[in-house]
Amino acid sequence: MDSGDTAFMLVASALVMLMTPGLALFYGGLVRSKNVLGTMLQSFICLGVVSILWVLGGYSLAFGPDVGLFIGNLDWFALNAVGTAPGPYSDSIPHLVFCAFQLMFAILTPALITGAFAERLKFSAFMAFTILWSLLVYAPVCHWVWGGGWLAKLGALDFAGGTVIHINSGVAALAAALVVGKRKGYQREPFPPHNLPMTVLGAGLLWFGWFGFNAGSALSAGEIAALAFLNTQVATGAGAVSWILAEWVRLGKPTTLGAATGVLAGLVAITPAAGFVGPVSAVVIGLVAGVVCYGAVIAKERLGYDDSLDVVGVHGVGGLWGALATGLFASTAANPDGVNGLFFGNAHQFFIQAVGAAAALVYSFVLSWVLFKLIDAVIGLRVPLEDEVQGLDLTQHSETGYTWT
């Protein structure tokens, strides 16, 4: 056990925790004022619900002893055998610290999906989905990549969760948008964000917390954490710059929301690569992410599905780009314990990355689709039309975000 590593990982875990309320602010600002609380609560309550799931069985399913390279078993139910002694994933920190760090990821991921069905889903349906999805989709995919599952055996690289968190949530978001359906008035009336300053604050907190997310994924306060930290910063800045440049060229003006969204695109894209690539590659990954995700968000308008807050365009497409980019830019010059990617003479890694991304894509899409259909049949997904028009804050929670005097 190493006290420096432990201190670093406790702080990193706390930083990742902050991303969820940061996401609540980011999403909350983007919806109409009548839905601000309902939207923020869907992120915020994940801090409660997923924490309970994680202690009971979530952690064991994701990281417990392997069953068929697909999922963990329930030997660690109720954190049995998960204690203060170092665990199998790191010699230098208490097993409980690793468990807590991973819990923060497990909380954030379902919270990300809520952006897809914002402004129309019943809170009860959201709760049912979050519980089932965390256990049936998040835990297995997490196990495949980080828990010693088949993608880990295959050699797929995912430093901090491009596949586990962003492709996974982005694809679930696509299933959500397709099954739940469009908001009333979508593409006929504007749904302008009600508070963009709040969204920018949320983006800032996400960026800040992401240092814990990426640097912490090194699991020690050493060279690779330093690499991941710097890569996170430069790729994210590049994402913001390239998004507003793309807007500027296309529509004549750079926008604040564009910069905030470009930040997210850069963060998402660098996540799987953060500890495997050099800083110049990170800038390129961020620059491409801003433009690609902007294109994906515009494509949504044309394709006509209603992913309210662009989870598919930013997390799905950004995560996919990041996973593939890891297979392009990974370099043993940056991380001697890593591998080389396509641009450094190892085309096979790119192939592995594509397999990993495709597996998460298919699995998450199919399971998420089935879960939404199932919940729709049992308790119903959407609020009544009248409640949707009135706003979810009042009709689902009997409160309002703002009192106008």
Binding site: P190, P192, P193, E247, R250, L251, K253, T255, L257, G258, T261, Y294, V297, I298, E301, D310
Partner: protein
């Protein structure tokens, strides 16, 4: 007596107020309003989705003056509030039957 209602661009308020004070106009009521004429709306862009917002923010000035002052007040607003670009606003003139000052109960031109 006449009531002059002028819809103007917000940034012109101070200049118009000064010009009317100089003419001897003693009071006015100003409201923030929204509306559109031939100018129509403006464009807002959120992540590539464009919205046309029809209503533009404007100010509405309500000024009651003695009939003989009407023309000079209208001329002053015309001169000051004009930028020559679309969306400068409009002026409406109404007849006023009676004006009564609540504090004293006096009425007619003296109550303006």
């Amino acid at each position: 007596m006449r009531k002059i209602e002028a819809i103007i661009k917000p940034f012109k308020l101070d200049d118009v107020k000064e010009a009317l004070n100089a003419l001897g106009v003693t009071g006015m009521t100003v409201s923030e309003v929204k509306g559109f004429g031939r100018q129509k709306g403006h464009r807002e862009v959120y992540r590539g989705a464009e919205y046309v917002v029809e209503f533009q923010p404007k100010l509405k000035l309500e000024i009651v003056v003695d009939s003989e002052l009407t023309e000079r007040v209208v001329d002053a607003i015309l001169k000051i509030a004009r930028t020559g670009k679309i969306g400068d606003g409009k002026i409406f003139v109404f007849p006023v039957e009676e004006v009564i000052r609540i504090r004293t109960g006096e009425s007619g031109a003296g109550a303006i």
